[in-house]
Amino acid sequence: MLAGRQDVLERAILRIADREKQHFACDLHDGLCQSLAGVAALTSALSRSLAADGQIRPSAVADDIARLLNETIREARDLAHGLGLIGRNGTDLAGELESLARFIRQTRRASCSFAPQWRCPGLRDETHMHLLRIAQEAVRNAFAHGRASHIDICLERIDGSGVLSIRDNGVGLSEARRSHDGMGLHIMHYRARAIDGSLSVTRRREGGTAVACAFPLPRPCGARGGPADALAES
């Protein structure tokens, strides 16, 4: 009884934390970035006006300010995407993962591929969000702890279940770190359980880490077999 209540509370806390992150990302993206873009445009207009008056040096300074503002906009935008503008693309999970892979290629000195074996349609919003957060956390770990230079993200259907996997070529997760089970890993496991799925984090023979989350599909998509079977096969 107590364990059930604790589970409900944990889920609620995670949901609130996700919602707050999302609000913050939206405010940053749709508020601050837009204001900065407006100020950058005004500064560009000022630069032109100064140049037309023959004030070359002040015009160059205004150009520098506009350039710096545009760089700041990009940084703020990347920060907002890092926090996860989830569900803002009006697309399915595969579309969101595609965006994540593109974002990694653009913002990190790393390559990242995404191979959608199928689009995984019809997921509940909560499942969609947990899976995307798992992918984000796995990617973050690959760079922060694994020092990876390449990441493969894959979404496939195996024996009636969905499987999201993130494999990197980094130094791999040490046994000490895995047994210590940091907060990030703990929350990834928790997210997998919250969608009735299962998570495995393994060290790859060829080097690097493989994270795989198997999850049940909505009825029209899934048929037989459960997530655990799918994970065993992946």
Partner: protein, 135 residues
Amino acid sequence: MHSPRAEPHGSRKTLLIVDDHPILCLGLTTLIESEPDLAVEAAVGTRAAALEAMRNGRPDLVIIDLVLGDEDGLDLVKEIKARYPKIPTLVLSMRDEALYAERALSAGALAMSPKPNSTRACSAPSAARSPARPT
């Protein structure tokens, strides 16, 4: 919303800006007006205000934010395409260009431009002057 200068447009190409963010509207209007051959006819923040502005005048180009508060900018693109097929639209966005460019073009937009770049006044003026613009 920001009011553009009330001078006669003469031979200048005219633009309508549709963006719900007032600072961005002001910045874009000022930047576009700094071009000698371009004029901002109106800068509005909603779909209804945009259609109202188009009833009163025919801009040479409409610049539309992808998101207009709770409204979808692409719906406005489609509406303008249906009502005024000869007037081109340019979609601005800070979102993932790779993801939205195809949707914007499918909706009938002439082009899509990311907002940080658009503030450099590259896209809007060239789109307004573009010979590809239907007449």
